[in-house]
Symmetry: D2
Subunit: 217 residues, 4 copies
Amino acid sequence: MDGHWNAFRAGNEINDAGRSLDANHMRPQEFHMKTAFTLAALTLAAASLPAFAKGVVINQAITEAEVLAAQQGWCKALVDISTTGTKSGQSAAKALAERVIDAAYGYQMGGVLFKPTLTVNPQTFRTTRAGALAYFVGGDPAFPKDTGFALKGWTKCEVDNAAVFIAGDSATTMGKVNITGKDGKITTVDKTWKFVKDDAGKLRIVVHHSSLEYAGQ
Amino acid sequence: MDGHWNAFRAGNEINDAGRSLDANHMRPQEFHMKTAFTLAALTLAAASLPAFAKGVVINQAITEAEVLAAQQGWCKALVDISTTGTKSGQSAAKALAERVIDAAYGYQMGGVLFKPTLTVNPQTFRTTRAGALAYFVGGDPAFPKDTGFALKGWTKCEVDNAAVFIAGDSATTMGKVNITGKDGKITTVDKTWKFVKDDAGKLRIVVHHSSLEYAGQ
Amino acid sequence: MDGHWNAFRAGNEINDAGRSLDANHMRPQEFHMKTAFTLAALTLAAASLPAFAKGVVINQAITEAEVLAAQQGWCKALVDISTTGTKSGQSAAKALAERVIDAAYGYQMGGVLFKPTLTVNPQTFRTTRAGALAYFVGGDPAFPKDTGFALKGWTKCEVDNAAVFIAGDSATTMGKVNITGKDGKITTVDKTWKFVKDDAGKLRIVVHHSSLEYAGQ
Amino acid sequence: MDGHWNAFRAGNEINDAGRSLDANHMRPQEFHMKTAFTLAALTLAAASLPAFAKGVVINQAITEAEVLAAQQGWCKALVDISTTGTKSGQSAAKALAERVIDAAYGYQMGGVLFKPTLTVNPQTFRTTRAGALAYFVGGDPAFPKDTGFALKGWTKCEVDNAAVFIAGDSATTMGKVNITGKDGKITTVDKTWKFVKDDAGKLRIVVHHSSLEYAGQ
């Protein structure tokens, strides 16, 4: 009689698959259905639903493709800044890095929580644009230990996601990023990025935690 | 040189289409690109991107299909409560209405802003579960003017969306809802619903404004 | 022993009280606590917590004061456009209305779901900036039935909220808005607004449903 | 009758102050007002605004106090599991760790992106509850390199935030966490946490990236 309320469940197969992170535990939804009332029948088969709403559709949800593109954009920018530094010098690399930071991070939106891979105390965290720029290309007396991470001659950068979590209006990724130096040696970092969509529809990084792999044991 | 930063733009064709609400006005993104710096080239063609991230993908974004299903669920529930009332009486209809409210609205999540179609002062708004229940099935002395909107013998309910706005983790719809009475007469209301996803992945109504069409002029 | 986990609960006792909308149903949290483990004691008294985090604090949550100010800004704009129309004519009123729409609505952010009070079929809904402008000041042949709602000589506008729901990064209000005409007569409408914060930190209207009170019964 | 809804208010004065990230840079909103158009007069002085909305107020925004309490809850739980392990053995510590994970993390809400401090390939990331439990207390043959981070006899845990970013309905923190071992030696880690509020109003960790400080240069 009221089985149609099942239609309120997330109908998306991808969503549901993603939720079943741990098959050994009952999902909260299953609990709900058993304790509240048993849905007699699923009368709204997905096939009978209209594919699209009539009228205007505005969809600001972040897609997986957008997240992957943003990650690759970051990687390519790192190599580009490196290449520019090698070919045209620190000043040109700095100019490019400024454009990259302004286009890809959210400093102008409110702030960024940025823990770069190689920073040390007392300037581990870079919550300002100036701190991010200094990390990438150095040359800022306010950040005396920064030598320019993006000027190390990187030739390649690849993302290997362990997980992508799209919360709807933000997305967080966690995984390995492998960057290849000029000598061909690969450095692997553990990296977390949180992206949000700005008013123009562009993804921007608002959280960035990068760390060398734990060497130990 | 830095054209790849274009990758940070929303790559989703559907999103972009949805954003072009008014073709006569320049989109903010275009404005941004012209004032900030011109992206030389789009070097990351969508076709070159991996289709999916490796690893776990958790996607809590609300989909258009979920929204449409939730709307149809509401419509079907209205007719079901009406049918139950006619066949089995107010008490059975009330029991069903309680299950519907608990399954489809967000009263237990924090609260609901509900302006039903036919309520009058001083009880126009129904921010409590009791107020919603009284509106649907009447019989509550605390809401003496309620005679039970869902008990009017409705036989059909159809949604005609003017717009669906998915903000990522919430979705709002606005449009006409046409409900057919037992005499075959159709009543059309203007309706706004806001849905959010609960922890179990189900859409729930947290805002509901319904009004008769303006007769006037 | 592990009573401190209680600290993960919203520390606000008031919230919890407010959440008990339906005493007849077990709250999800109670369920959790009973099945998972009983919290022995609350060892982290609120008084022992540091008042502020050290370091940078970025808080983009919408405040109640911001919501109230945005509502009053809308009211004042309506009266201002009316006054401008009376004193300086439709053209001046239109110019002001354009600035108001661009400053207070979210058309440039993605779109707006707008159901004005007095619109009729087939142009009930105004999802474009042009449609909103036509409603407020008329004079657009594409919207032939619009005579200019804001040109009716309104002298006063007051908001009487039934409810304000702050979801964190958006806020929805529902209530009465009383507007006084040049003859001193008050028109009351039922109004729902959803506000979001743009990248510059300003609230903008993205949903607006307005309707005359139900006359009936 | 339902005035208790006022209980949902959370009047946080701190919000606005938190926006002044960098006093040396003009805030975006000021910029906007200067470039867009000057409002003829700012007649709505803050002092003239009503302090509170009439009617129901539901406020789900995360507060800074909630974030700090959740962080301290995590710290205290780590010490408690350690103490339990020392006094009562691994089995008791494991039982407590399970309750802690279920109460403080979001595995049952959809998933968690967790990069613990000391994990190594190929099990660096722990997106499942089982992986988190193995990290904290070891003893799981599926995670053979885990010896139980929480069983190392920690006696103290303190959070030193570099930044707290409240996005409204989520909050991310980044900073140092100092944990003291049984020998009195302090280990400092760089830690990022993202919290969301569940349907019951409790904060839960959905992102957790922890790393040893960069030793080098």
